[in-house]
Amino acid sequence: MESLQKIYGSNIEHILGANLDYLQNFRQDLIKNFNLDSKQIQNNESTKHIDRNVLNNLNFKMDSSSLNYQHLTNERLYSSIVVKNGLDYSFINLDKKKVIINPLSSVLDLLINKLEKNKNLFKDDYIVNLNSILLNSGFDFTLNEHTNLKTIVLHENNQLNSTIFAKNFFNIKKNSKLLLIEKFLNKTSSNSNIINYFELEEGSEALHLVIQNNINESNLQFTTHATCHQNSIFNQLIFNCSDTSLSNHHYADLIGEHSEANLKGIFFVGKKYINDNKTNINHLNYGCSSNQTYKGILTDNAKASYLSKTFVDKQGQKTDAYQLSKVILLSEDAYFHSKPELKIYADDVKCSHGSTIGPIDEQLIYYIRSRGINKKEATNILIKSFINDIIEKLNIDSIQEQIEVYLDNYLNQNN
């Protein structure tokens, strides 16, 4: 495979800010320490569980000639953003008094500031570093103070064998509330490496719901990082029913007192695909709480992993942190790796974790079938009940219904 320097050089015309000194130096430093062929990739926690083919088949072809926007919602309550092939954007219902949004290409100074500010966040993360080196798109989104907004973002990557590297910055100002639904519904063989940064100011709240239903080798590496200031709450649910390989790495830093982060996920993986999940929450101040809960269903020869980590700094007294992973294996050939970690440096905390892996309970299937319900439907009932607690806690009917549509489609096609 080509060296990263060569890939970078041959695609430089597409890379954001490639002619700016700061970004050139920043990227060259990353490239120096980045060897795509080294054993480091295999041993690095950010890449060792992802599909190696993704890294070996980067195609950096971009074309904006056939952009055609299709927004997902007609609801006036939602504003809508379509990101087409990572290059162009379309907006509807975006009230400029509430929200300011700019493509990164038009605010490169801001990009430099953000990179400088976040440079120590993911030092050894190959996926993030690759994204920084080959970055070609993204946007900056600011929700003004004391504002409520519901937004749907649809990421479309429908160009064969294209690769997108995007960074999106969400700034949620004081006492604001954002409901952000992001959808990945790609149908074309491609690769997207997308990182969202959330900055939640004092008293703000975000619910980040992500629906991933990619098919046909439309691979995705999705990373998010939330910085939570005092009394802010970041809630996230990743619902992945894709028919392709994906990685989901999600992080939160609780830097303000009484801030909260809940990173939850539901994943379905089948065939030969690999799903790599990771969450990491740092409790860096007093009285913060967090919940990391991932549940998955694996079939066929699927492989999945879930690494979860809670770090409690010595400043993090009165922390309340919970981690849970539960996976049902519907095939003897499916494989799941779970690694929960707790690192606690404060002495007055409540932290716990649990992890279960196993087949579906045959006694439950028997009981349900004995009432006249066939095996497929019985299995689907049990799968729905398995993940129901996570969906129910969203407590927003319209979102629960949306997830149930994707869930029903998945179960009808795959079980």
């Binding site: 028997y366 079938r369 009432r371 006249g372 095996k375 439907e377 009932i381 009940s385 607690d389």
Partner: protein, 246 residues
């Protein structure tokens, strides 16, 4: 003839549990099987319901004229066979009402009939539940989740009453029940008992049989029926145990 079992032998992991067992149940009849622990009563229930871990080594079972072994678990239920479990399992996150609606609709669909809508079903379920002393709140709970032993058994009877089977097998449904719960079980049986609904009641106790008055009582030991007769057999067992039948 509703159910005909001829010379049935069943084993599990090379251990013979049922040994050349025969039994016939006609439409409208109530049969009771009594027997010591380990005599194969629950195995018989599970084999009839279609549980797949058993190895049927010989014999045949016909239900409504059909070879029961040609039907899988759900098809047997759709044909009208119901097992009230000795140990009903909890199904967390599965609400009682949609669960039972799915069960009723599976049966209707299998017989080419129009499925019942959610509203109509909920109304019917509530009525039946009230008649059996269930609160409406209970119907909002998950199947058997957090139920006491008695509540689980009563819920089995509610399911039986809703599904209206042709043959109900009650596997020690009366075990561990207080007097009030026992009344609900007998009430459930009396409500369904008619010329076409039959019952196979597995029990250790005479007190249930006194209230139900079965048509036939059988004694089962070592995997086979060793004695059949009237309710007087239950009285003998109550007095002197199973030794004389061994």
């Amino acid at each position: 003839m509703l159910l005909s079992i001829k010379n049935l032998s069943v084993s599990i992991e090379d251990k013979k549990i049922l040994n050349n067992l025969s039994l016939e149940i006609n439409e409208g009849e109530v049969h009771a099987i009594m027997g010591p622990n380990g005599s194969g009563k629950s195995t018989l229930s599970n084999v009839l319901a279609g549980k797949e871990e058993y190895n049927v080594t010989s014999g045949e079972i016909r239900f409504k004229g059909k070879n029961l072994f040609d039907l899988n678990i759900e098809k047997r239920a759709q044909e009208g066979l119901f097992l009230a479990f000795q140990y009903p399992v909890a199904v967390p996150g599965v609400n009682i009402t949609p669960f039972l609606q799915a069960a009723v609709n599976s049966k209707l669909k299998a017989h080419g009939k129009e499925e019942v809508d959610a509203l109509t079903f909920a109304k019917n379920l509530k009525e039946t539940a009230n008649q059996l002393g269930f609160s409406s709140d209970m119907l909002k709970r998950s199947v058997n989740e957090g139920f006491s032993g008695g509540e689980k058994k009563r819920f089995e009877i509610l399911q039986m009453s809703i599904l209206k089977p042709h043959l109900s097998i009650l596997d020690e449904t009366d075990s561990g029940l207080d007097i009030d719960a026992l009344k609900i079980v007998t009430e459930g049986i009396h409500r369904l008992r008619n010329k076409t609904s039959s019952f196979l009641i597995i029990t250790h106790y005479q007190r249930l049989l006194d209230q139900i008055a079965p048509d036939h009582v059988h004694v089962m030991t070592n995997g086979k029926i060793v004695k059949s007769g009237s309710i007087s057999i239950a009285e003998q067992i109550e007095l002197s145990g199973y030794k004389k039948f061994g």
